[in-house]
């Protein structure tokens, strides 16, 4: 099925023309009825085939996304386990603190002489406890906020609903989500700087745009990792708008893409990564999403030894909704 997805776009563009042509000829000529019926039948068959192909493509896009979440899962678990680790340890410590504070309170309630209470307070390091409690609680609040943030973003990213129609979205929000989810993949190899302009909203399927950005950010981090330098690399994400377009560029200072494979990178199943690391579908699906579905463009600048910049160019207005390409229409 995957190979057919590559041809999908080409067919998708041709089929609707066939349909329109048939309708016109039917209205004008009576004798060509047989021929017309044959064309109508053929048209129905083609429409069905198109629908199946579109469904297959939808499924492929979804599968690729789930696969990329799967690959990120270990990293996400680490990002969650860190705060869970210290929050739960802090809670155990806190219950010890509370027990000690209760001891002191009970001593006061029992009218025990003050010097004795003070001696006991010193023994249980009461001053340290009182000073530390604030810090402990602040740490826990921060940790829980981090866990919430990761889980929310992951949930947003993995939602499985069929968003057939485009909605108005600000892709800067998508970029922020992606950076939370991919943090663990990036943080050891690169620092991320973002320069997110005031780009307003554009009609798009934000889920799929996030998927494309995630792909490109992970690619950038893996490229930087390949250089095996002492120092961390840099990934720069910039967004800006011009009259008719919104641009989002993802720049890395990795090894660059060699000239001879630059043409192949959007081919399905083309990958330079080791088995088990890349499926070879990331950029091919990004291509489908940006160019096929959103009528945008992907621009590539790459210099060997210097780095690579992918720029996603998306129209600020979708003139006529891309009905023919949407499955089930």
């Amino acid at each position: 099925m995957p190979e057919s997805a590559a041809n999908n776009m080409a067919k998708a563009e041709q089929t609707p023309d066939n349909g329109n042509g048939a309708t016109v000829s039917a209205a004008s000529t009576e004798p060509g009825r047989e021929k017309f019926e044959a064309i109508v039948n053929e048209n129905a068959v083609l429409k069905l085939a198109l629908q199946k192909l579109n469904e297959a493509q939808e499924q492929l896009i979804k599968n690729e996304k789930m696969a990329s979440i799967g690959r990120l899962a270990a990293g996400i678990a680490h990002e969650i386990n860190n705060p869970v680790g210290y929050v739960s340890s802090n809670c155990t410590t806190l219950s010890g603190y509370v027990n000690r504070i209760m001891e002191i309170i009970k001593m006061y309630e029992a009218d025990i002489p003050k010097p004795m209470i003070e001696r006991h307070a010193k023994k249980i390091k009461f001053d340290f406890i009182v000073k530390d409690i604030d810090k402990l609680i602040m740490g826990n609040i921060e940790g829980l906020a981090r866990i919430t943030d990761i889980v929310n973003n992951l949930k947003k990213f993995a939602r499985n609903e069929q968003a057939l129609e485009f909605t108005e979205n600000n892709i800067n929000d998508g970029i922020r989500s992606v950076l939370v989810i991919a943090k663990n993949e990036i943080k050891c190899y690169a620092d991320v700087t973002t320069d997110l302009g005031d780009i307003g909203t554009i009609p798009c399927n934000i889920n799929e745009i996030e998927q494309v950005i995630l792909n490109m950010v992970i690619n950038a981090a893996q490229a930087i990792r390949e250089r095996k330098r002492e120092k961390k690399g840099t990934i720069t994400i910039t967004t800006k708008k011009e009259e008719a377009w919104v641009y989002c560029s993802i720049q890395d200072d990795g090894p660059g893409i060699p000239g001879d494979i630059r043409r192949k990178i959007f081919d399905p199943f083309f990958t330079t990564k080791e088995v088990g690391i890349g499926t070879g579908l990331g950029l091919s699906i990004s291509h489908d999403i940006i160019i096929g579905k959103h009528r945008g463009e992907i621009l590539l600048e790459s210099e060997e030894g210097k780095g690579t910049t992918f720029t996603i160019k998306l129209p600020r207005k979708q003139e006529a909704p891309a009905v023919e390409i949407v499955p089930g229409s």
């Binding site: 680490h78 969650i80 860190n82 705060p83 340890s89 802090n90 340290f128 402990l136 050891c188």
Partner: protein
């Protein structure tokens, strides 16, 4: 007991919680927020137990543990990590020479017990090595006094044989 335990983690909150958890333990606790600063610390302060995170920027846990082996060859090494996939566990065993792998989130009581066991292990190991040296010294001493005695009293082995023959 003046044992020292070093913790390395790039997350300050984790170091804080460990420090709090162990504040009534008998050993001293040292904290470092990166592999590089931990190595600097180890150069001047030998420790008995090292507990390191795996995923840290610049120098990861395996690399740090590997380098710590030349500075503190006898220290008991452990990993405390939220990432327990086969690859990283294997690397930390094969290259980091670790004794235990503790998963995040950890259980406070288990962790305390594990660290106490590690300190014990270190002490027993040092004790064993010391006893071995003493034993060697003693063996050498008795060997040399034996050979001195042999020289004085002629060939000991021969006289023993003659005695055996007599019995038959």
């Amino acid at each position: 007991m003046d044992a020292k335990v070093l913790f390395v983690d790039d997350e300050q909150n984790v170091l804080d919680s460990i420090n709090r958890m162990l504040y009534s333990e008998e050993y001293e606790v040292a904290l470092a927020s990166s592999g590089a600063s931990a190595l600097r610390f180890l150069a001047g302060n030998p420790v008995q137990v090292i507990v390191s995170d795996m995923r840290m920027p610049e120098m990861n846990g395996v690399e740090f543990l590997k380098q710590s082996r030349s500075l503190c060859p006898d220290a008991i090494r452990m990993v405390l990590s939220g990432q327990a996939d086969t690859g990283s566990v294997m690397d930390s065993i094969n290259y980091g020479g670790i004794w235990r792998f503790i998963a995040k989130p950890w259980n406070d009581d288990d962790m305390k017990l594990t660290i106490r066991n590690a300190v014990d292990l270190y002490e027993k190991e040092t004790q064993r090595k010391q006893l071995l040296v003493e034993l060697k010294d003693k063996t050498n001493n008795s060997r040399s006094s034996m050979s001195r005695w042999r020289k004085k009293s002629g060939n000991g082995r021969c006289s023993f044989r003659r005695k055996t023959v007599c019995w038959e």
